[in-house]
Amino acid sequence: MAFVLQMLELGKLRSPIHSLDPRAKLLWWICLIIVPILVTNPFILLAFTIWIWIMAVLAKISYKMYRFLIITYPVMVGFIVLTWPFFYPATEDQFYFFRFGILHWSLEGTIYALAMGMRIVLALTACTFFVMTTDLMGLASAVGEFMQNKLRISYMYPLMVISSFKFLPELSGDYITITDSFRSRACDIDAGSIVQRFRKTIPVAIPLIDSMLRRAMRISIALELKAFDVDIKDRTFYEKYVFTWKDVLFVLTGVLAILFSILAIVLGIAKVEMYL
């Protein structure tokens, strides 16, 4: 929990990337998520990943991002790379490291697994970069403003997102206090088998839910006291978000990544199958 909060805090840093409109970064992120859907060539995917790593330097988050990714890559990708070769269709023309009944592991299967892993790597890198360079409150506010003013959708929905982030530390604090109070009554939440531990979460969940409901009630009353009305369609926003040429340029880099992927498809170099 603390780690997630630290990651969210990074979104408030100051850098050329952080100063961009959060909506521009959202669009860029969407583009970078589309790329691994279109492309499976691991070298192209690796090139895009390296590009984001370099941008992390510009965003002054390189050390923290690399440290996070070095831990996360093996966890997220390791399972895919280790299991995929077993499910890769076995044909006679492959080079097998071993083949025993339905169990098999071939060079081709391994290459394919690595390509699938690279898709996850790129998506994960783009997500991490986006989270570490974007103030999610700012994003929710900017999206909320856009939804209200352009789409005439109530600000209540973005506010729900903002609130869920804003009260995450308090929820975390409540959880720690509640588990502490149970430990103090000789109930060690972390001890015992998985079943036992699951059973122990029930008494913890009740005061936690109670506390959340009470907090939600207090917040809703506080909002009403400050004249918040979910039906109002013309509320103003403290911070104005305007798309500048820098934002357009940044989004364009994402669009270019998609165009390059499409070009790779046209040239027949987008798929991993070319190496198999």
Binding site: T177, I178, S184, R185, A186, C187, D210, S211, R214
Partner: protein
């Protein structure tokens, strides 16, 4: 009092939260003896709660050690230390979960493996002590705040701890409820429980505590009997605490009188009468 009477001891205790660079506790050395009623006071963020969380192992020292009932807390989980130390949290709603008052009280003793007869006896005893008789089958969330606070204390007392730690017991309660709860803790103290209470209510401290520990900037700033600590008005103000008015009045009206026990307004009036008689004589 002998060394054997010490039930809680901290030795060169330092603590730093993992996410912070500065120390939350600095070189805390305390001896708390059996049967003492200790109030730990201090500004918000002075280290009170951090200190008492060491007493039942919720926090483990970064440096130094804490000895509870002869056991070093570093090697024991909180669930084991709960046999010796009862810890009542500030907000009773953070620990209440059961459908009935009875189940809530029985939760701790069951975790400690008490036999059914002992659980029954403990429940009846704490219900009587906390004035909750007749509410055994009630739903805890439907009780008043004061009753829920007493239930929280009862559910901890049912585990028969040697030391009772109560964090901010009177927060959110009116004066009558606060006095009533502190009176209950005082009665427990008279029966032999060692009680450690943190609070911001100085009037309650002066009424009930016999020893006061003032925390300031992560250190023990003052430690002494209630009258000794509250008599040091300048120092205590420096620590961001306003002593009860009765002490300030006593200091100004009777600067030469040495207080030998905690005072309440009635005591001050009595002292003033005596002083007046002395002058007239």
């Amino acid at each position: 009092m002998s060394v054997d009477d010490i039930v809680l001891k901290t030795e060169e205790l330092y603590y730093r939260y993992p996410t912070r660079s500065d120390y939350a506790l600095i070189n805390v050395n305390l001896d708390i003896r059996k049967g003492e009623f200790v109030a730990i006071i201090g500004q918000n963020g002075s280290g009170k709660t951090t200190l008492i969380k060491h007493f039942n192992g919720l926090l483990k020292p970064t440096r130094g050690r804490v000895i509870v009932d002869g056991k070093d807390t570093r090697g024991l989980p909180t669930s084991e230390l709960a046999r010796s130390v009862g810890y009542v949290f500030q907000n009773p709603d953070h620990q209440i979960f059961a459908e009935t008052v009875k189940d809530e009280i029985d939760f701790g003793p069951k975790n400690l493996g008490f036999p059914p007869e002992r659980i029954e006896q403990a429940r009846q005893r704490v219900l009587a002590e906390m004035g909750l008789q007749g509410l055994e089958e009630e739903m805890p969330f439907q009780l008043s705040r004061g009753q829920r606070q007493r239930l929280a204390v009862a559910s901890v007392l049912a585990m028969e701890p040697v030391i009772l730690i109560v964090d901010e017991p009177t927060t959110g309660q009116d004066w009558r409820e606060s006095i009533s709860l502190m009176e209950l803790i005082y009665q427990l103290n008279k029966k032999g429980h060692t009680c450690v209470v943190t609070t911001h209510n100085m009037n309650l401290v002066s009424l009930f505590a016999r020893r006061v520990i003032v925390m300031w900037r992560s250190e023990v700033y003052l430690d002494g009997t209630t009258q000794e600590v509250f008599a040091q008005v300048d120092q205590i103000l420096r620590a961001g605490i306003k002593p009860p008015e009765v002490y300030e009045l006593a200091r100004r009206l009777l600067p030469d009188v040495r207080l030998d026990r905690p005072i309440i307004p009635e005591d001050l009036a009595e002292l003033l009468v005596k002083e007046r008689e002395k002058i007239h004589r």
